[in-house]
Symmetry: C2
Subunit: 321 residues, 2 copies
Amino acid sequence: MTRSAQNSTAPAVVTSDAMVCEVLNGALGGYRMLRQWEASDPIAMLRQDAADVRVLVAFGSVPLRSDLIDALPNLGLVQVMSAGYDGVDPALLIERGIQLANVGEANSGVVADHALALALAARRHIINGDNWVRTGQWDNVGRYPLVSTISEEKAGILGLGHIGRSIARRLAGFGVETAWWGPRPKPDESLPRADSLLALAKASSLLFISCPGAPETEKLVDRNVIEAVGADGLIINVSRGSVVDEDALIDALRNGRLGWAALDVFEKEPAPVARWADVPNVVLSPHHAGVSFGALDEIRKRVRENVDRFHAGEPVLNRII
Amino acid sequence: MTRSAQNSTAPAVVTSDAMVCEVLNGALGGYRMLRQWEASDPIAMLRQDAADVRVLVAFGSVPLRSDLIDALPNLGLVQVMSAGYDGVDPALLIERGIQLANVGEANSGVVADHALALALAARRHIINGDNWVRTGQWDNVGRYPLVSTISEEKAGILGLGHIGRSIARRLAGFGVETAWWGPRPKPDESLPRADSLLALAKASSLLFISCPGAPETEKLVDRNVIEAVGADGLIINVSRGSVVDEDALIDALRNGRLGWAALDVFEKEPAPVARWADVPNVVLSPHHAGVSFGALDEIRKRVRENVDRFHAGEPVLNRII
């Protein structure tokens, strides 16, 4: 039997896997952390403590196994460690009367920073430029070819939640004219909302994707949208790979109907090496837009706060369901 | 004799070298462009037309040969194609009564964009992250190690001219607390000015260098300043290599007394491959912060405007001397 050495009368908390527990890094000190993944039969082990468990902590983007939820009859809260919660099946939680909470805007700043890092790296050829110096091409070939830059462009943002707004604030500092689109108008928002995603794509040479991953956003960025961003355009995705028709994106990059793509997220993760090896004009990033030292501290703080609140019978923050 | 086919009664303009002429790309259409570098004896060729030449166009950062100036008795204006004019000897122009003009803030936006691109690429590990995906480490090793991000940092700007202010506006969009230092107070400036460069470096984990290259700024960023930015710090240079004690910078990077450097400019350019090959934690860029399609159009427009103004007897814009 695997059980922490902490006070056995403390409330028990389940984390979905070892990585979640490692990332929490002691943030839930005082709770009994059930490390079911260390047991030969994790579900059987969970069942021993099942009655005590009212909270489960998970990554938002990793599919949450329904057998974990089934094994916990008194589960009342699933707390995810990100803004996104596409790994969680809302229907199952609603059916069981289980609450779902995320960490609100805890990491929207770093995601927006990463989105700008990707956009600027693509436009200013940071990877190829570094290579130009290191391989001696600066000396042997000469000046780096002329490139464009974001402050001369128009941007569109798909999805204006915490992250989209954080991207918009950064773009304003660059003097970039910015519009957005989402399914619902936001009367308090001063940025112009395009008539449709396609209209947004047509008007933009930079398209930032920052909407939730969900069945209703699946392949929302389809061939038509991609080609509307166009041969001089750049698509930046810091949301979920599912939002983009990735085959169409790769095809458009190969055929020059899309200029560039800068991607932190992929249809399949880890991104298969062979799939991307000879795709031109892409900057690839291993799905780490959402984390930084500071953001992770804030995420841990918010998870702790909600776990405490739930056990104290207080309303949790950033409740989704 | 090498002479353009244009109207021989049109005023003659000299460009310092073939590259300047190529970059101008017809912006001075209507003028007689003297292509002295194509002659076997350029100075002799220039002397044939010398009396007609009142304007010389040069890059600001490339040393301007004094024998060109000596060969042109009626030279009245040296027009550079950048904000910097460190390639020009002011004493020589003053002695001869020759005016000097730059292109003002024509390219300050793209330089600031590039500075942010470099800072974000270093902090968000854009080059290593791309490599992590492409080499299959995401699959074989796992998640990318945790990194920091600029919106959690404090920034200092050395030199608050057009470029420094453009960097400051961008940092404000990221919510970065920013201070600056320069030799002269700016009463109209709302950003706080540090008591000294060393005080600025101590208070900052991001130090942006955007002051002019000149004898008085040579190695201003010395070992003390570099070590004050410190083990967690990042120095971004989009000014001139001469402003930094590059040996001290490399030494500090090797010994962990400086965290990172992101450099568009170097003591010697092109940057020698061997010098940088095994220096850790550097993003290298082949001195192209100052150019983009849009910035180059604006530079050409301003060069044309000043050449026209000078020949019409009107005051030139962005006059330095």
